[in-house]
């Protein structure tokens, strides 16, 4: 009986394990191997050890991409933690129509990143975009700007899109966290004479800490592997001003913007850098949440 049962166990996991080995584990090890070769993608790969990683040190664009990835990660983590938290606390008060507000805030979460990015590309359009039209209409034409074509505004413009798209998502997580705080805690605090702000600081904030760490870690890992929004909005331009590791990997491997021959080995090495950075992010999660990955 027991032996037969175990057989069923193997039978049940076999398809999942097979898919995992064939389409995750094997490609994963192959990615590491490729990162140690010099290889254009069509010729014979040549083993070069760690040369690809050493070459990164002198690659100006790699450093721009790394810097932008970290900038994007830090900015989105801060904005996409603090703002959704404040909105959730506000929404948790009693409001008429609060369900309508939550439905509306979650709508951008539902649509794809491609749709959101294309939509905002039109909104940011220097000549016909609604943003510049609106600025002109209210007499602020001096602020009208080629948002995505200016190296100084391109990253902030993209970060705004990311915030718009994910606000509802993180807000819902915080909102659920707020609902889970036992009401007795507030009663006890009231008995101790705490006022509203003191309760917010001494009851709500510490009780929300586990949820906050989860939100931050999702943000960090999402920031390190950001790709879609930037690829669709700017392909890393203008002049690499919005290049991140993800877009640099992709363009290096598949040569999407023309110029420069594809270099699969070097691109795979950039992938290893993304991998290491996201492992650091995951490690941070384990440390912050004490190994619990099920907080939410």
């Amino acid at each position: 009986m027991r032996g037969q049962r175990a057989l069923y166990g193997y039978l049940f996991i076999l398809p999942t394990l097979a898919f995992f080995l064939a389409f995750v584990a094997y490609p994963f090890f192959r990615a590491i191997t490729i990162s140690m070769t010099e290889w254009a993608g069509y010729d014979q790969p040549r083993y070069v050890g760690l040369r690809n990683f050493i070459n990164m040190a002198h690659d100006r664009i790699f450093w721009i991409a790394l810097r932008n990835s970290l900038l994007f990660t830090v900015a989105t983590t801060v904005l996409q933690t603090v703002i959704p938290l404040l909105v959730a606390v506000l929404l948790a008060q009693r409001w008429h129509w609060d369900q309508v507000v939550r439905t509306a805030l979650f709508l951008p979460v539902i649509i794809s990143m491609v749709v959101a990015s294309l939509l905002w590309r039109m909104i940011y359009d220097p000549n016909f975009g609604v943003l510049n039209s609106a600025l002109k209409a209210i007499g602020l034409s001096s602020l009208a700007h080629p948002w995505l074509a200016d190296t100084h505004t391109v990253m902030p413009a993209i970060i705004i899109v990311s915030l718009w798209k994910s606000l509802g998502f993180y807000m819902v997580i915080f909102y659920a966290g707020l609902q889970a705080i036992p009401l007795d805690l507030y009663e006890v605090a009231s008995l101790d004479g705490a006022n509203g702000w003191q309760k917010l600081l001494h009851v709500t904030a510490p009780m929300l800490w586990p949820v906050t760490t989860v939100v931050m870690v999702i943000n960090i890992i999402g920031g390190i592997k950001v790709f879609d929004v930037i690829y669709v909005m700017t392909t890393g331009g203008p002049n690499h001003a919005s290049e991140v590791l993800g877009t640099y990997l992709y363009v290096t491997a598949f040569g999407a913007t023309g110029g420069g021959s594809p270099s699969s080995g070097y691109a795979a090495a950039v992938g290893v850098v993304i991998l290491v950075l996201s492992m650091i992010g995951t490690y941070a999660q384990l440390r912050l949440t004490g190994g619990r990955s099920d907080v939410y």
Binding site: Q4, R5, A6, Y8, G9, F12, I13, P15, L17, F19, F20, F23, P27, F28, R30, A31, V87, L91, A92, R94, V100, T103, A104, L105, L107, P108, I110, I111, S112, V114, V115, L118, R121, M122, I123, V130, K136, W164, L167, F169, V172, L183, Y186, A189, S190, N195, G196, W197, L200, K225, F227, Y250, A253, G271, I274, L275, S278, T282, D294, Y296
Partner: protein, 300 residues
């Protein structure tokens, strides 16, 4: 969304009103802060939906009116949609996305349920090791896999084939879906499994007739999560499929911009069509949707 659903949701969350009274400062010019609160919520709501409303309104504009600063079209028309349907094969892309998504979701739900059940309820040697192995890559960025997967699908002659894309999606989706199903199965009382075994039911019979019906919320969660993930996926689809007949919606939208970057009614009409399936399902199954997507929170 019906009023009935709204009240239902509120009834399930009785807390806000109580919390409200206790978090807010007692009398700090209450009317002013209430008005300010409503104002902030109104602005947030508008900021969230305005781009989408603008998208729909622009798609109804006449080509000549594209660049007028008026948001509302003076002569609304469906010309852009007719053009999309007759010239741009949007029906083909929609169908491709429906096909790829439904096969992927179906396979992931079935295989993840089987594996999740085994990991939760059947003992077999090596279980823990295999489980941890499957979980080890949960945070793996897709970008790391794109080069080797491209090579592998080339080796298998599955580049530019929806089957190749589907296989990659299933492989990528299974570990997380299995993990979620396992946690659902562990909450089902073990006595039911033992009772089934006593009655002489086969392991597969127990899974199918006893466990699966009880794990319906879990199935709903992974269905929604996988549906959204697959429908909205861009980079794998853009890389592994080339010919327009194979292409799914997201890379097709991206390609459309290259050709019609100045024809905004057609572009926005395409974007609108692409979000209709997901937004419709969302508005009908709102509660399950929010649960399903935020369950993906730990995956990110």
């Amino acid at each position: 969304m019906s009023t009935r659903e709204q009240t239902g949701t509120n009834a399930r969350h009785p807390f806000p009103s109580v919390v409200a009274r206790q978090i807010l400062p007692a009398r700090a010019s209450r009317v002013v802060s209430r008005t300010g609160g409503y104002l902030i919520l109104l602005l947030l709501t508008l900021a969230s939906i305005f781009p989408l409303i603008w998208m729909i309104l622009t798609s109804l504009k006449d080509r000549s009116e594209t660049y007028s600063p008026n948001v509302i079209p003076s002569k609304p028309s469906l010309a852009a949609y007719q053009f999309l349907w007759s010239q741009m094969h949007v029906g083909q892309y929609l169908w491709n996305s429906v096909r790829v998504t439904s096969v992927t979701v179906g396979a992931v739900v079935i295989l993840a349920s089987l594996a999740g059940y085994a990991f939760a309820r059947i003992d077999f040697p090596g279980k823990q090791t295999i489980f941890l192995l499957l979980l080890s890559t949960l945070m793996l960025p897709g970008a790391v896999l794109i080069i080797p997967l491209f090579l592998q699908l080339s080796d298998m002659h599955l580049i530019d084939s929806q089957l190749g894309l589907i296989l990659a999606y299933i492989g990528g989706g299974l570990p997380f879906a299995m993990f979620l199903m396992r946690s659902f199965f562990t909450t089902v009382p073990g006595e039911l499994v033992d009772a089934g075994r006593m009655d002489g039911a086969s392991e597969f019979g127990i899974f199918l007739r006893i466990m699966l019906p009880l794990a319906r919320p879990g199935i709903a969660t992974i269905t929604i999560f996988q549906f959204m993930d697959t429908w909205n996926e861009f980079i794998f689809a853009a890389t592994f499929l080339h010919s327009p007949t194979q292409r799914t919606l997201q890379p097709a939208l991206f390609a459309l911009v290259g050709r019609y970057s100045t024809n905004w009614p057609v572009l926005t009409a395409a974007l609108t069509v692409s979000i209709i399936p997901t937004v419709t399902v969302y508005l009908i199954l709102q509660k399950q949707f929010v649960t399903g997507l935020t369950a993906g929170a730990i995956k990110g």
